[in-house]
């Protein structure tokens, strides 16, 4: 049963991590930028669970997720030299890249057909329910859940539809039947509130 397999794989990352003591994703990216393949292996072990979790969540299709996941990891290898530590954390850089790739795949022509059906059939409370279902008892995750709960419904739905389902903001506007300008501001307000609640710095 695929769902059980998924559940078992959730959070199994710690068992496979082989990072050297004190080595950060930033250190590893700097080595990877110089063609260090063993360092890439360690970066893979550090980031694969986060990247695959996000890609799988956005795409919902195992085969497509595996493809996009591999594209993302190779993009990390190819473009490691462009990472600028003064502009944010390495994991943010990698995850932003992963999210963009996943979203681009969702929006690609192949996905177009059943996407229209998805928009039509969409019930907007789905993403939040799924997030709640998947969270474990880790402290950060309880915090994420608490912070998500502190948003207004419209803020939360806008953020979750865009982030986890890869909908563009005009699509979110259609789904939620709210004006475009409202979606723009709600996404921003929502993220700002989350930022402050989670205590995130760049």
């Amino acid at each position: 049963m695929q769902d059980r397999d998924l559940t078992q794989r959730i959070m199994s990352r710690d068992a496979t991590t082989s990072t050297e003591p004190g080595e950060t994703a930033e250190d590893l990216l700097a080595l990877v930028a110089r063609g260090d393949e063993p360092a890439f292996g360690r970066l893979y072990d550090l980031a694969a669970g986060m990247v695959f979790g996000l890609v799988r969540r956005v795409l919902r299709n195992e085969a497509q997720s595996e493809e996009v996941f591999q594209e993302v990891m190779l993009e990390v290898w190819r473009t490691a030299s462009r990472f600028d530590p003064s502009r944010g954390k390495a994991t943010t850089w990698i995850m932003t890249m992963a999210h963009r790739r996943a979203v681009d795949r969702v929006r690609s022509a192949q996905a177009a057909t059943n996407r229209d059906e998805r928009v039509a059939a969409m019930t907007v409370d789905t993403p939040f329910d799924e997030v709640v279902e998947q969270v474990t008892d880790r402290i950060e995750q309880r915090k994420v859940r608490r912070c998500l709960s502190s948003l207004t419904d419209l803020q939360r739905e806008s953020v979750l539809l865009a982030y986890y389902q890869g909908y563009s903001y005009p699509e979110v506007s259609t789904l939620l039947s709210v004006p475009l300008g409202t979606v723009k501001t709600r996404m921003r307000d929502g993220l700002i509130r989350l930022r402050d609640c989670l205590g995130v710095t760049a």
């Binding site: 794989r9 959730i10 959070m11 199994s12 990352r13 496979t16 930028a33 110089r34 063609g35 393949e37 890439f40 292996g41 893979y44 694969a48 669970g49 986060m50 695959f52 979790g53 996000l54 799988r56 969540r57 595996e66 996941f69 591999q70 990891m73 190779l74 290898w77 190819r78 030299s81 502009r87 944010g88 994991t91 943010t92 995850m95 932003t96 999210h99 979203v103 998947q134 969270v135 880790r138 950060e140 994420v144 998500l148 865009a162 982030y163 890869g166 563009s168 005009p170 979606v183 723009k184 501001t185 996404m187 921003r188 993220l191 700002i192 989350l194 930022r195 995130v200 710095t201 760049a202």
Partner: protein
């Protein structure tokens, strides 16, 4: 509402990759000129990533070896700094490609050197061409050293110096391109600079200069000297290339 404050509201949408393609490009243009937007985008991207802590999922284990196997044939973007260093030790296909591209770079620089002497219609021209050919074989020979590196840096007055160096052989080949033309009574001179002070590596009119016996030299430096060269460098340094 002004256009720019309207664009500023898109930070959240952009951080979640929720802009349609055309608007994404427009916003990225705006982002390049708006420090406060860039700061907010960075924070909101980090926030989005924070959300994702809820959904870590290990990929199927066979993907690891599949991805690692593709590294050798996946070229990397070069490091984008003014001084670039590429280590050429491994024999993997990827490194081989890199080596080939460095040879191409070296050939291009040599090409520039050859073009520079084309106006001279006598033995000098032939000599220069011979020197370049000899230099080229020196470069390709040096590239075979297991610790060979390609290092380059730009001169403040324009032009560039490119060095192939092998510490284990104590040897470097220096090639310049685009340096300002000097009056006939002046010449460029190359120096090996180490803890014991500078030692001459030769005059640039015999380019490419092969610097042998590098010992503990930390860098190569270029100066402008009287046409016969000097026994010690005349400041300022036109260009320095770090070897370490």
């Amino acid at each position: 509402m002004s256009v720019s404050s309207d664009l500023h509201l898109l930070t959240g949408v952009y951080a979640m990759n929720a802009l349609p393609e055309d608007e994404r490009a427009e916003f990225e243009e705006h982002l390049a000129d708006c420090d406060s937007c860039a700061q907010e985008v960075a924070e909101l991207q980090a926030t989005s990533v924070g959300l994702n802590l809820a959904t870590e999922l290990a990929p199927p284990s066979h993907l690891r070896s599949q991805v690692l196997a593709k590294l050798a044939t996946t070229p990397q973007s070069p490091l984008e700094t003014t001084a670039t260093v590429t280590v050429l030790a491994s024999r993997s296909p990827k490194k081989w490609l890199m080596r080939a591209s460095i040879l191409t770079t070296a050939a291009a620089v040599l090409g520039a050197v050859v073009l520079g002497v084309q106006g001279v219609q006598d033995w000098n021209e032939l000599d220069a061409l011979r020197q370049s050919a000899a230099g080229y074989s020196q470069v390709s020979d040096l590239l075979n050293a297991p610790d060979a590196k390609l290092v380059s840096d730009s001169a403040s007055a324009g032009g560039k110096g490119t060095v192939v160096v092998s510490p284990s052989r104590g040897k470097a080949v220096f090639l310049s391109s685009g340096l300002p033309q000097l009056p006939s009574d002046r010449t460029y001179q190359l120096w090996m600079v180490g803890p014991d002070g500078p030692r001459s590596a030769g005059l640039l009119r015999d380019e490419p200069v092969v610097a042998e016996g590098l010992a503990d030299a930390q860098k190569l430096a270029l100066t402008i000297e009287p046409s016969g060269g000097s026994s010690s460098p005349t400041l300022p340094l036109v260009l320095t290339v770090s070897l370490v």
